[in-house]
Point group: C2
Chain length 498, copies 2
């Protein structure tokens, strides 16, 4: 075998890995969007078979022999193939440490857990979900110990979503945020409240669907490769640059909720839709980490979507669909879309208090993975953290610990990416402004200008660089959360006329 | 290995086959219902990988060794395992005759062909679709020659959908139908026309969706295991008895179209939902042939759904959703739902002229597979057959040769099942009446009584018996198309007061 043959084998292997992941992804997407409630049994069987297959493919003799060869010839490889080799080396070590039966059993557990979580949330009954969460936590701890016995188990969890992120870095980051954000929140609380009752007027679902289509057009999301589905808890799945699915949930009495979820998920989708063509069906296609992914989604949702200029841009569309809204000025809508108040639901939270929701989950996850808290005590811990961080009482589990789907899907360690992504986004804005007037571009509806800049600095690279490396290249500097806290202070001082 | 171990291996093998089929089925369903238009490239890749895998699993050394063992110990097997062995023996012979590359290439061809057919139909442009149809025909001929060189190639095609069906049997069957049906159609044409303009009044899609839900309830389709999707060309996919999808298409000016497509697909779904539990995830789960499948769907659509009693049953629901319809009596609606007139579109055709649409396709398929007609001449042949059989002019390919999806999916030999199924259904009615008053049960909304009878005679057996064996057991006699022609004559003499 020569290097060229090895790369062909690698392409073939990665195509197969793509195919299994694609098939499992479509099964999950179908589950979340349209599958009948009772379809869990066959889906569990199929997921079990496919995940075993996928495991064996990625860890089998052939894959191992190929990896050994690539490592021996590392110096002869292109930068792209070096990165693929590194990624494969890392995941091979992880996968081979986990016995195949446990890997398969975990996939099946997650399939069941998602279904049970949905039911538990509907019934606001944590007890239904508790045994599944308990098993997920145990499995995560066990996998952490098997894969990286040298590492703090929660650091291992964080690293799954953001290569190199640790509990310590999070603590430092969240500490800095909290010190700057809490005083702003205090000032906001003391300021004159903003009237936002009018945005909760009835906005029929059919009209919200029209608004979603208009938003997708404004964001330049190509309808041939990106469609929107309706789900309980919105998410984005990118199967390839040819097929990305965003989702939303419509509430008739809160059109801003779906509007901002569409913009948020649209940001994820843009990232997935713009990997360089040469990465198609390889491990380098698509976003590199959840932190970088969230930096894109939260950039569009907040920095773009909640700007005065964007509100002015979308205002005529909103008034066309809901003439009642025309009784209020764009400025009133802008302020209503930026009401900052401690609240119960993370995905509905404003930009300012949002990081506190993440800090609650960070504390919870540390306790789950690192501490010795019983799963039965988790709702109480959740509720008391909401009291401590946000000063509010949680009325029930549906609006408390059961609100997010992440843990039911095994996503422990994911949440910090949202806050990190928000901070990345603010630093990207700072840098972008050196190239052009961002506010002016939004005002003119030239979102393509923003897309072009991000494609050039982030999207096209897929997973070619490590997250921190990619971001530093884009920033032209080291990551610094002060851009984020400065941004928040500036914005909310202005919105609340502090 | 002893017999018990062999059966465990067989169960495991069939579970894997189920899983691959399930994954590919969900990918297709997603394609038909919600996938973005441009998603064909990744789906083609994944389908290619999965179909190769599936082929290798079903034809590999392990599967062959197992089959040899089962054949050696055939006498020791249960009737169920004997049937599984027979089915596997048949499909092994078929699959092994086809080289894997050709099998994979064909799967990819069909994926592309479906997408192109949709576009061609939309644009009413046969030329777009022609090269794909040409390749499909060539491949079908080639596969027939490889698998069964001893057999007439079109007989091979027919046998794929109805074990044991031949061109000769079809010719005899269609001959008998035509002799009896054509004179009835002539009388109907001479009779006083029925006024059915009122059923084409606007019926909003949202209200039609409500009607679909009511129909599913009346038919006892369990919502936990059966959901409805919206597509261009309605179909049913049964992934397992836990998950069956029916689909429909809503036309605002023709609510009967979706009403009868829901009832038709609902009949397929009931069959798939009621295999015996012990057949789950084995080759015996689900319907045995397309002929038997269509016997169920067309039984519900026509014999039940277009009966006077069913119209009386659903009438209040229709009037509730569309009060305008209340200006007409149930009797008027009954007659309007049974207007028998030669028409362009098979799926919209009435019960009486329907078999003529099938005969056109039968003639087309014989020419495609057995004759030496050029694909460029097929639209002309289609149009002249519609003139000859139905006496009507085809205005364009959209309403002509491009109307059905079957050929784009490789389904040459499928159509005769529809007519055969209709005839099976009439003989089932005859037999069912010996047990209870079917009209009375429908009138009383006791569809469960009909479901129970069919479950007992047909559904629960899954694929345990050959189609002809299963039907003869149910009929307690040989198949005889006279029950069908008698039924049609009685019904249309009465509807048209001949």
């Amino acid at each position: 075998m020569n290097v060229q043959e090895a790369i062909e084998k690698l392409n073939d292997l990665e195509l197969k890995e793509f195919a299994y992941g694609h098939a499992m992804g479509i099964l999950s997407y179908d589950d979340e969007t349209v599958a009948p409630k009772g379809s869990g049994i066959p889906r569990g069987k199929t997921m079990g078979v496919l995940s075993e297959l996928s495991y064996k493919l990625s860890t089998g003799d052939e894959a191992r022999g190929l990896l050994d060869f690539l490592k021996e010839h590392y110096d002869e490889l292109s930068p792209e193939d070096k990165r693929r080799t590194d990624l494969r080396d890392k995941s091979m070590r992880e996968l081979r440490a986990i016995p195949v039966e446990e890997y398969v059993a975990y996939t099946e557990l997650l399939n069941d857990a998602s279904n049970v979580w949905r039911e538990a949330k509907n019934k606001s009954d944590y007890k239904l979900f508790e045994p599944y969460l308990s098993k997920i936590i145990e499995t995560q701890k066990r996998f952490a110990g098997l894969v990286r016995p040298d590492m703090d188990p929660y650091d291992y969890c964080l690293d799954q979503y953001e290569e190199g992120l640790t509990r310590e870095k999070c603590e430092e980051f969240f500490g800095a945020l909290r010190r700057r954000i809490v005083p702003i929140i205090e000032k906001v609380k003391a300021a004159e409240p903003i009237d936002d009752a009018f945005v909760r007027r009835r906005f029929p679902v059919e009209d919200q669907r029209r608004l979603s289509r208009a938003l997708m057009e404004i964001m330049r999301l190509p309808e041939d490769n990106c469609v929107i589905g309706e789900v309980e808890h919105p998410f984005t799945t990118g199967f390839s640059k040819y097929d990305v699915r965003i989702t939303t949930h419509y509430y008739e009495d809160n059109f801003l909720s779906s509007m901002y979820s569409v913009i948020h998920e649209g940001g994820h989708a843009l990232y997935d839709l713009h990997s360089d063509d040469r990465f198609c069906f390889t491990s380098l296609e698509g976003g590199v980490s959840m932190g970088v992914h969230e930096s894109q989604s939260r950039f569009y949702e907040n920095i773009v979507g909640r700007s005065r200029e964007f509100i002015e841009l979308i205002y005529p569309e909103i008034v066309k669909l809901s003439p009642e809204m025309g009784k209020h000025t764009p400025e009133e809508l802008y302020r209503a879309a930026n009401v900052a108040l401690p609240s119960l639901i993370r995905t509905e939270a404003d930009e300012l208090t949002y990081p506190l929701h993440i800090m609650v989950r960070f504390e919870m996850e540390k306790a789950m993975i690192g501490g010795d808290i019983k799963t039965s005590e988790l709702p109480e811990m959740w509720n008391s953290l909401y009291k401590e961080y946000l000063g509010i009482d949680v009325p029930d589990d549906k609006n408390g610990i059961l609100q997010d789907s992440h843990w039911s899907g095994g996503g422990i360690g994911y949440f910090p990416s949202y806050a990190l992504g928000s901070a990345y986004g603010a630093q990207l804005l700072h840098k972008m402004r050196e190239s052009f007037d961002v506010a002016e571009a939004i005002k003119a509806g030239e979102i393509g200008k923003i897309n072009g800049w991000l494609e050039d600095k982030i999207w096209k690279y897929g997973s070619l660089y490590k997250p921190s490396e990619l971001m530093e290249k884009a920033f032209g500097a080291e990551f610094d959360p002060k851009y984020y806290t400065d941004y928040l202070e500036r914005k909310f001082t202005e919105v609340y006329r502090l």
